[in-house]
Point group: C2
Chain length 144, copies 2
DNA sequence: CTTACAGTTTAGAATCATTATAAACTGAAT
DNA sequence: ATTCAGTTTATAATGATTCTAAACTGTAAG
């Protein structure tokens, strides 16, 4: 139950009221050793499995976006119908397994870019995202 | 009008009937020196401006997807509501200007990745996508 | 430990991009 | 000219996400 206090404090510090729903979602998202990659729909399923009181879909959207705005979650740019989020907010990149549709972290130390061209005009780099799509080779034709 | 024959042949070779609509779209997409980055909605506007006979939205989707499947267009993985396509189908990466929402090609020679970690299991790399988001620094808070 | 109210949650409606449907149309082979 | 598979089209359907407006709830102040 120390975790509980930790989450309550974290929310308060961020100017977010520690409601039952936000605490339940915090527990699911942040009480884990491994980073968690998820879509809202996947999160919904996990919550339904782990919590008896249901949380409305709108609240899941609200909360995930609030957490993202506060810097506790990162959105992963990946084409597809659904948006992916990541509990690992540090600078890092991903393998995307096209067979399982799973994301896998690449530690930042394990990759580097060279010969970066100069940025256009007076623009500054905000973010660099590398996604490496992998799959088994026998795979069927993919249309994406 | 040599272009016309070229497009007719290209379509025939691909097993696509050279219909009026496909030729009109081919003209818009491929009769240009610069590569063209676009969403379906943007393409629709360009077509409306350049062609008196209107093409239905469904046909735009059908045609763009057919062209993509034949390898004449590439889909760019970029988070956001709309899907981006690129007439440059070679291996290359992009700057994404968050101020203007425009994509800018990075020539492949101008960038390289080092220390690539080994791919998971027995998977093979299918594709590597690098997107470098740039923006002016004075910019307002962005929520994305 | 009540009150009061801004912050939250919620169900359901609304929106937006995209895909499916199924009827009308059209290249092109005969 | 005929025929028919391939296409186009308007429209409906879908699916993710956002909006809305009403009900609810932390919590600060008395």
């Amino acid at each position: 139950m120390e975790q509980q206090k930790f989450h309550i404090n974290k929310l308060r510090v961020s100017g977010l009221r520690p409601t039952k729903q936000r605490l339940a979602i915090s527990k699911i998202l942040f009480n884990r050793r491994e980073t968690f990659h998820f879509t809202i729909e996947q999160l919904k399923k996990v919550i339904e499995k782990n919590s008896k009181k249901k949380i409305s879909l709108a609240t899941l959207y609200n909360t995930v976006h609030a957490f993202k705005k506060k810097g506790y979650l990162k959105e992963i740019p990946l084409k597809g119908n659904q948006t992916f989020f990541d509990t690992n907010t540090s600078s890092h990149h991903h393998f995307y397994d096209e067979d399982t549709l799973q994301l896998i972290d690449i530690k930042d130390e394990n990759i580097s870019i060279n010969n970066l061209p100069k940025t256009p005009n007076g623009k500054k780099i905000q973010d660099i995202e590398i996604t490496i799509k992998v799959a088994s080779n026998y795979q069927k034709q993919k249309d994406n």
